[in-house]
């Protein structure tokens, strides 16, 4: 989708664009989340839960966590490509990374809306 918007179709360019798009989304989400914490200053469970139940907090946290998983996938993929020379080991690690990141994304949704 991002590659479509930016008019970029080659895989490496798509990864490059997605890495930066998710980075900027995370920066924006962090600013909003820190702002929420600064305004409400949760000191107990009730306030903490209240802050986390605001739609703005939920959306920001979801944007942050999903962006983080996409961003981590691209980064770890590069790290594995550079340091793990054995093809099958690398393939296994890639699958494990992807599986855990998809799991984290679903887990995040469960935490925020469960």
């Amino acid at each position: 989708m991002v590659s479509l918007i930016l008019g970029i179709s080659r895989p490496s360019m798509r990864d490059w664009a997605l890495q930066r798009t998710t980075a900027i989304l995370m920066l924006l989400a962090i600013v909003i989340l820190i702002g929420m914490l600064a305004v409400y200053q949760p000191q107990d469970h009730a306030t903490w839960k209240q802050v986390a139940s605001f739609e703005l907090t939920r959306i920001s946290l979801l944007v942050f966590l999903v962006s983080m998983c996409l961003h981590a996938w691209l980064g770890i993929k590069d790290v594995l490509m550079d340091y793990v020379k054995h093809t099958y080991t690398r393939a296994t690690l890639r699958v494990l990374t992807l599986a855990s990141l998809i799991g984290y994304t679903l887990w995040s949704i469960l935490i925020l809306w469960g």
Binding site: R20, A23, I24, L27, D44, H45, A46, W48, K49, A52, M68, C69, A72, G75, I76, V79, S100, Y104, W107, S108, I111
Partner: protein
């Protein structure tokens, strides 16, 4: 053909130039942040689940080892974010002159360390 020339592959004695240091730390901090994701999700889930869970998370943060871990994590996050912003600036052709590039790399490296120390101060005084 064998040539006699000095060769140094001892990683400990190689002095990394500043941009290389910032770059490898960007990578190291990224891997640290990736590995810590499940722990962060557990903390988020536990603290939201119940008042007991919230209190146990707050209590855990009083432990010196947890504080040390938080400090390390804080540095990894700040370094990764600053180095990432530096990348975004480079993408927009900002700060490519040698002198500017060096300054920005110094700000990334020392900014993350200084801010982490400040956070450490807050952690240990709270």
């Amino acid at each position: 053909m064998q040539k006699k020339r000095p060769r140094n592959l001892n990683l400990i004695s190689i002095r990394l130039p500043l941009p290389a240091l910032v770059s490898i730390l960007h990578r190291v901090s990224g891997v640290i942040l990736f590995l810590i994701i499940p722990a962060l999700l557990i903390v988020l889930q536990t603290s939201l689940a119940s008042p007991d869970g919230f209190n146990s998370v707050v209590a855990a943060m009083d432990h010196p080892i947890v504080k040390l871990l938080l400090l390390g994590l804080c540095w990894a996050f700040l370094h990764h974010m600053f180095a990432g912003v530096r990348h975004l600036m480079s993408d927009m052709s900002f700060g490519l002159e040698l002198r500017q590039a060096r300054l920005i790399n110094k700000v990334v490296l020392w900014g993350a360390i200084t801010l982490s120390i400040a956070v450490g101060g807050i952690l240990w005084s709270a």
